[in-house]
């Protein structure tokens, strides 16, 4: 009887894990549009977990994994702007609202939560779409990030043209989480 009850309790807690989805593939990019030049950087090494039961989502993107067309620009981005040796990751933790795990096809969702870039926390909101395809979940979002909001300094004596607001695009594919 005791063992029966215990195993029941254990099984009751299992669904928590089975609702967890892990990022399988992703492309996170940001785009700065300025008169002199456009700058784009892409990372395909983000990490993310999505819990479809609680609609909670978390993202970690190592700053150093952003690839630029110009290597030297990438070096400056890490060394002088993002100070990635001090603040190695950009993170997001939050909840998806408007999310219905039962609904098939594309649905509109809004992610609300806390973004941390360059060591600065900010509450943000980003609209995007979510789609179930068999066991896979596809998530996309496009949202603006103000450089000054995260205390990233752009010096006046600079020869790059950097927009005050950059556009971030997230494309992500999730698969059910399997514990290793």
């Amino acid at each position: 009887m005791k063992i029966y009850l215990l195993s029941l309790c254990l099984f009751a807690s299992l669904p928590l894990y089975s609702q967890q989805y892990q990022l399988a593939e992703s492309r996170v990019s940001f785009f700065s549009s300025a008169p002199m030049e456009n700058i784009e950087a892409i990372s395909s090494r983000a990490k993310s977990l999505l819990n479809t039961q609680t609609a909670e989502i978390a993202f970690v993107i190592p700053i150093k994994t952003f690839e630029f067309e110009k290597k030297l620009m990438q070096e400056h981005f890490n060394e002088n702007y993002m100070e990635s040796h001090k603040y190695p990751d950009a993170t997001f933790k939050g909840k998806l609202s408007g999310f219905n795990p039962q609904q098939k096809g594309v649905q509109k969702v809004v992610a609300r939560g806390q973004m941390n870039i360059h060591g600065v926390n900010r509450n943000v909101e980003a609209a995007g779409t979510l789609e179930y395809r068999d066991k896979e979940i596809y998530l996309t979002a496009v949202f603006p990030v103000k450089v000054a909001d995260y205390e990233v300094e752009i010096p006046s004596l600079v020869f790059y043209n950097i927009a005050e607001e950059v556009e971030v695009t997230v494309k992500a594919k999730y698969l059910p989480y399997e514990k290793k």
Binding site: L5, C9, R45, E56, K70, K93, K95
Partner: protein, 305 residues
């Protein structure tokens, strides 16, 4: 009956425990998701140390930095006259030695370069290969190592009666550097300068030297540099000193301005290692600068260093 209630109590206890745990769980779930992510290890991606130095030149000589594939670096260098030449000469600003040079990244590890100096009308060409790259993980090393080889030819009219080979000088260097912290990087550079023509029989063709240098970052955009080349044997050229230099790097994104004070006039190895005639401590100091501007000729699609 008694047995039953005992079981019930256990059940209630377990239930309460589980409920409390799961309630706490949902409160902290977002943080836990984040923590779970942070704990996930990347599959052995090597991480290479970048920006050991701000430029491919420390002051007079090279650093272990190489330009990435497809990057052309245009470097304009000046060394003015001696500070102790006085106000009449505007402390040396009236005269200047100039080197115009181009460096190019054939690959991320292999660079070639070419330059022309007004000092003795020297043309120089070099090849630079990064043997080891400092970093963490597979395929990296605790320090960076670069092989450097250059050839320089003087084309002064007065030296034109000499044959071409007699005007050639070769330099081989091994550059070893380690970035100890975000601020501090140190470099050692053993060097051999081979002059095809020496002045007399006693004057050795080969000059052996050991260079040492480093940089200390003051803030995100400013760095202090130091460079000294000690020679184990000296050419028979009088007077003749070891090259010493201190400098300040100013990085503005795309440009690096290097301002420095040095007793050397030349801006290639043959010149500053074997032909430095100024004594730094007598005030034979030249103000100078290197300005570097990079152009991306081919876009970078590779992740490898």
């Amino acid at each position: 009956m008694k047995r039953n209630s005992w079981q019930q109590r256990i059940f209630m206890l377990l239930f309460t425990l589980l409920f409390t745990l799961s309630a706490a769980h949902s409160l902290q779930a977002q943080d836990e998701l984040l923590d779970a992510l942070r704990e996930q290890q990347d599959p052995a991606q090597p991480e290479y140390t970048t920006a050991t130095f701000k430029s491919t030149r420390l002051i007079n000589g090279h650093t272990i930095e190489t330009r990435s594939q497809g990057v052309l670096d245009f470097i304009i260098s000046h060394r003015f006259g001696r500070l102790n030449s006085g106000a009449y000469n505007l402390f040396g600003l009236d005269e200047a030695n100039i080197r115009l040079g181009l460096d190019y990244g054939l690959t991320n590890r292999l660079n070639i370069g070419f330059g022309r100096s007004s000092f003795e009308r020297v043309y120089d060409g070099f090849i630079k290969y990064k043997l080891l790259q400092q970093g963490n993980g597979k395929g990296t090393a605790p320090l960076s190592a670069v092989l450097f080889s250059s050839a320089a030819i003087g084309t002064l009219k007065s030296a034109n009666e000499l044959s071409l080979s007699n005007r050639l000088t070769y330099t081989w260097q091994l550059l070893l550097a380690r970035k100890f912290s975000e601020r501090l990087s140190l470099q050692l550079m053993p060097a051999v300068v081979h002059r095809n023509l020496s002045l007399t029989e006693e004057d050795s063709n080969d000059i052996y030297a050991l260079g040492a240098g480093g940089r200390y970052k003051l803030n995100k955009r400013l760095a202090l540099n130091f460079e000294y080349y000690y020679r184990f044997n000296e050419p028979l050229l009088q007077p003749n000193y070891n090259a010493l230099a201190i400098g300040l790097d100013i990085e503005t994104g795309g440009h690096v301005f290097q301002l420095h004070l040095t007793n050397a006039r030349a801006m290639q190895e043959r010149g500053f290692i074997t032909q430095t005639t100024g004594n730094f401590f007598d005030g034979d100091i030249h103000f100078g600068f290197n300005v570097s501007r990079v152009f991306q000729l081919r876009s970078n699609n590779q992740v490898t260093p």
